[in-house]
């Protein structure tokens, strides 16, 4: 009898909980397709830096080396598009895509975006850390881009 009481209690506890979690997810999950926390401009600013170089290929190679230094395994790289993606596994899964392209007449812009497990990284600090590591490997200063 006691067993049944506990089982009923568990079901009572679990039912609204799972309804709250899953019901919510079903209604709102489509929003994630276009969803971001910050504005488009704000996100670009956080995720982009410019370097005083026109060496796109060299920059891509340095990005790859920096990702490896940070513990990433490279997933893909494409020279003509200027993109590199990598994944870091450390009890979590951190995916990052970095794009490199010419910026103005003398610079190259580097943009990184990351997802931590199933959440977009929109906090400026991790990007600051990434660009700090990249600066060291590039032997160049990373400039903020407007």
């Amino acid at each position: 009898m006691k067993k049944i009481t506990h089982l009923a209690l568990a079901v009572l506890l679990a039912a609204p909980a799972s309804l709250a979690v899953h019901g919510n997810a079903a209604a709102d999950s489509m929003e994630h397709v276009m969803g971001t926390e910050k504005s488009q401009v704000a996100i670009r600013q956080i995720q982009t830096r410019a370097f005083d170089t026109r060496e796109q290929k060299q920059t891509l190679r340095t990005v790859i080396a920096t990702l490896q230094d940070l513990g990433f395994v490279i997933d893909k790289a494409d020279e003509s598009l200027g993109t590199v993606s990598g994944t870091k596994l450390n009890g979590y899964s951190l995916r990052m895509t970095v794009t490199v392209k010419p910026h103005g007449k003398t610079q190259t812009s580097v943009r990184a975006n990351a997802q931590y497990n199933v959440v977009a990284v929109e906090d400026p600090e991790p990007y600051q850390q990434f660009f700090a590591a990249l600066e060291k490997a590039m032997f160049l200063t990373a400039h903020e881009v407007d």
Binding site: A10, V21, R61, Q68, L70, V73, K76, N90
Partner: protein, 174 residues
């Protein structure tokens, strides 16, 4: 029999905890041991022929049973992976003991995916090669139980031993 509601509560708090996860503060920070790891994962080869070194790297990955998933020769990148068994005898024994003592089935590790990226880079008259491995482990219920970077020095030593051997074999066309 207090275990059941407790399990539900624990599971529930885990689900809720999963919603509010945040990236660890040091996830994108260079660690003091980064340099050491770089040395462990890198070797320098006395060649300027980057493409040939990449080809040799690809054949070593094949020697180890990896399939090539991606490659971009102009950037010196090869990505490979393999799926393997992840059953560990100790875990199975533990699970059986738990089943016998408490009548509860405890899932054990079953499969793993091992990923490797191999990157070459010309440095003066030589070419550097850096390889990194990581793996994901799933249990008998299909849940991910572990995600990790491989940092065991022995693995990298063995890889580069095979790499040196391959360079030798291919130089002699064996």
């Amino acid at each position: 029999m207090m275990r059941r509601p407790l399990c539900v509560l624990v599971a529930f708090s885990m689900i809720m905890g999963g919603c509010a996860q945040q990236i660890p503060k040091d996830a994108l920070q260079l660690r003091p041991e980064s340099l050491e790891l770089r040395q462990l994962q890198t070797r320098s080869f006395e060649t300027k022929d980057e493409k040939k070194l990449l080809t040799t790297g690809a054949s070593v990955l094949q020697d180890l049973g990896f399939n090539i998933d991606e490659s971009e020769t102009p950037l010196g990148v090869i990505v490979g992976s393999k799926d393997r068994d992840a059953v560990e005898a100790g875990q199975v024994v533990g699970s059986v003991m738990v089943a016998v003592l408490f009548g509860v089935y405890m899932p054990v590790d079953k499969n793993q995916k091992i990923r490797a990226s191999l990157v070459t880079r010309p440095v003066d008259k030589k070419t550097n090669m850096r390889v990194t491995f990581q793996r994901i482990i799933w249990n008998t219920q299909g849940q991910i139980t572990r995600t990790e970077s491989v940092e065991d020095p022995k693995i990298y030593q063995e890889f580069f031993e095979k790499m040196s051997k391959s360079v030798f074999l291919e130089a002699h066309e064996i």
